[in-house]
């Protein structure tokens, strides 16, 4: 036994180290994914017996107006959340100076990410609130129109996205600050000697070196956009009349909320959301695999 161990120590040891992590991951993430997929083929109210109904949940989903609203909102979230990247980059470049007290400023800029999303949602909903909200009064003063953002179906999703962007920009900013620390100063010097400055310096010299940071920022932003449950729940509860729903919220509404006793249907929505995420996750993993094999 010990001879076997001595011979194969090099190849066995990594697996032994990975084993606890893999076991936890399998038990708490992978197996529940398959369980959810299984539940989506049943009609279950969470309390009694589950009834097999095959793909009936998915058929119903195709005909469901609220599902398409949620899907559309998720796409809007994905696209607009990408604005966090250039915004975070700009703030990171701005903060990357050797000014006295810069660490305090960096902490202040990072602060939105530290507070709970529920608190962010609450604050923004007061900000938008009719009659006493600051933003409401600003719009009234600037345009004369009385628009309550969270009560208006045209603007509600955008209002919530703005609230979500605030912490997300802070997160991306920190990623870029770290990336900027790793930018090779000799390359920057060489470029400066060649006459590059400002925008060209940024595009041709700095950004390529920030590629790893950008990759992580994109991953994190996509996942954040698809997961946006807390903000929707706190700010509008899916309203007005369901127009700000996103898939993660719709799934909760159908399966776990006060009026939702349909576990199977919620699981079907969860499977759809998982499928959408898999598109992005596969893309990321393929890119990482390609980078690793190239090395």
């Amino acid at each position: 036994m010990s001879a076997f161990w001595k011979r194969n120590q090099r190849s066995l040891a990594p697996w032994l180290f990975l084993a606890p992590g893999m076991a936890m991951f399998a038990l708490y993430v992978v197996i529940p994914i398959f369980q959810s997929m299984a539940i989506s083929f049943y009609d279950w109210d969470g309390l009694g017996d589950a009834q097999w109904i095959g793909t009936a949940n998915y058929v119903e989903l195709i005909d469901d107006e609220a599902f398409y609203t949620s899907l559309k909102n998720n796409v809007i979230w994905l696209l607009l959340y990408m604005l966090a990247l250039p915004a975070g980059l700009m703030i990171a470049i701005f903060l990357n100076q050797n000014v006295r007290g810069m660490r305090a400023y960096k902490s202040l800029f990072f602060f939105p990410f530290v507070i709970s999303q529920v608190v962010v949602g609450l604050m923004f909903s007061w900000f938008y609130a009719p009659d006493f909200g600051l933003f409401y009064k600003l719009i009234e003063w600037a345009t004369g129109a009385q628009i309550a953002i969270l009560a208006d179906e045209r603007f509600v999703t955008y209002g919530i996205i703005v609230a979500g962007l605030w912490p997300q920009i802070a997160y991306v900013m920190i990623l870029y600050l770290t990336g900027l620390n790793n930018v090779a100063p000799d390359q920057v010097e060489a470029a400066r000697l060649d006459g590059a400055r400002g925008w060209r310096m940024l595009w041709y010299v700095i950004l390529p070196q920030l590629r790893p940071a950008t990759f992580i920022a994109v991953v994190v932003t996509v996942i954040g956009a698809l997961r946006s449950f807390d903000l929707v729940s706190i700010m509008t509860d899916g309203g007005p009349y369901g127009t700000s729903r996103v898939l993660s919220f719709y799934m909760y509404e159908k399966a776990l909320s006060e009026y939702g006793y349909r576990m199977g249907y919620g699981a079907a929505i969860a499977v759809v959301l998982f499928a959408i995420m898999m598109i992005f996750i596969s893309g990321f993993i393929w890119k990482m695999w390609r980078d690793e094999t190239e090395r």
């Binding site: 969470g46 309390l47 909903s125 609130a129 009385q146 309550a148 509008t236 309203g239 009349y241």
Partner: protein, 412 residues
């Protein structure tokens, strides 16, 4: 030797006594959602009284936040159930009864004569001919109005719908919202729909509609919405109600920016906190729309149940009988500011709203439970969203009704 024996005997006697003292105290676990200050104090007094009447029972209370309780209950009924739990009557308790999570307590009703004393609430506690819990309180819904605003506009309290609409026109001229509400959490607008339907088409039709026996595209449903449109179209309702909470809308009534508010009696405490008094705050039953229809009211009922997994069932049943008795109900509801379900209990004569409410409910033709308790959960959610959408975009009525009809086809 003798000393040793004596000592041993004394020790054994001592041990035996402590042993039996332990065996005498039984625990009763009670999960409740009464975290608002007034109900919390009322329940603490109730439990203290029960413990005084039954000194060998120790009641352990687990208090949950009011909204969080509605999701927590599904967890604790299946895992680690208490002996007693708060919930609501009617269709709200149906999913748990169907899943076998509540215990049948018809024997408590039988042996304590509750079928007579709790007669008005019995129907809402009965499924399949058996009773599944004990109601301890209900409260009236109606229109609360600001008397000062009425005086300033020079109008009287309306008794018919046409008078109400005419008053609204005068309020609008004054720059005051005739009716205020909030729909961020959806249920207040269901109250408005309930009354519109009860007054336009009557109690039997409303019960048929919530039970799924009538189509939502039926012309009688359209008639209800047509009456409602008389408030929505001219803009008599507070704008942007979808963005505010009910406490914010209450602030509008208190400040005189709104004249009427369709609400339940629990809001009186909030109005009074804002500074209104019995002289400035008025209450009236919802006015008559279609003449000749017998007056039915909304009276949501709060209840206590025994979960199926309860350990101390005997004491739990004692507690239910205790809560249903008339003196306990008088005291509890006095502290809660609501109405006792026991018809022999007394109501605080100093509170004009309670007295008015008690008379109104006792003389009502029938009592509805409120839309989100009469209709099954999914229908209730779709319905309330439809009402909210109607109030913001009344011209979408056809699409809304068709969507509700589609939900009805699937749910029932």
């Amino acid at each position: 030797m003798v000393h040793l024996h004596k000592g041993a005997l004394a020790l054994m006697a001592g041990l035996l006594m402590t042993g039996s003292a332990f065996a005498q105290t039984r625990t009763l676990v009670f999960n409740t959602d009464t975290t608002d200050p007034a109900p919390k104090a009322a329940f603490e007094a109730l439990i203290a009284d029960f413990e005084a009447a039954n000194p060998d029972v120790d009641v352990v209370v687990n208090n949950f936040d009011h909204e969080g309780y509605k999701t927590a209950i599904r967890n604790f009924l299946t895992a680690d159930s208490p002996d007693l739990a708060n919930w609501y009557a009617g269709n709200r308790m149906a999913p748990f009864v169907a899943a076998g999570q509540f215990q049948d307590v018809s024997d408590v009703w039988e042996s304590n004569g509750l079928s007579e004393s709790l007669a008005s609430a019995k129907a809402s506690m009965t499924i399949d001919g058996k009773q599944w819990g004990v109601p301890y309180t209900y409260y009236q819904w109606g229109i609360y109005f600001n008397k000062d605003v009425y005086k300033a506009a020079g109008v009287d309290v309306p008794t018919t719908w046409d008078q109400f609409i005419a008053n609204c026109a005068k309020f609008k001229e004054m720059g005051v919202d005739c009716l205020t509400t909030r729909s961020k959490a959806l249920w207040p607008v269901a109250g408005i729909f309930d009354y519109m339907n009860l007054r336009t088409n009557g109690y039997e039709f409303h019960m048929d509609l919530t039970a799924g026996k009538v189509e939502w595209t039926d012309p009688r449903v359209r008639a209800t919405f047509a009456e409602w449109a008389k408030l929505v179209d001219p803009g008599y309702i507070t704008a942007n109600h979808a963005a505010i909470d009910w406490q914010d809308a209450a602030a509008l009534l208190v400040q005189g920016k709104a004249a009427n508010y369709v609400m339940g009696n629990f809001a009186v405490a909030t109005f009074k906190d804002g500074g209104m008094t019995n002289d400035t705050l008025g209450f009236m039953p919802f006015p008559e729309i279609t003449p000749g229809i017998p007056r039915a009211e909304d009276a949501p009922t709060d209840t206590i149940h025994i979960p199926a997994g309860a350990k101390n069932v005997a004491d739990a049943k004692l507690f239910l009988a205790f809560v249903a008795s008339k003196d306990v109900q008088t005291k509890l509801n006095g502290a809660l500011g609501q109405l006792p379900t026991n018809k022999d209990a007394a109501v605080d004569a100093n509170d004009p709203f309670l007295v008015q409410g008690f008379d109104m409910l006792s003389s009502a033709y029938a009592l509805a439970q409120f839309f989100d308790r009469d209709a099954p959960a999914e229908m209730a959610k779709a319905g309330m969203e439809g009402f909210q959408e109607f109030m913001v975009k009344p011209d979408r009525l056809d699409t809304i009704l068709e969507r509700l009809e589609k939900v009805r086809q699937r749910v029932y």
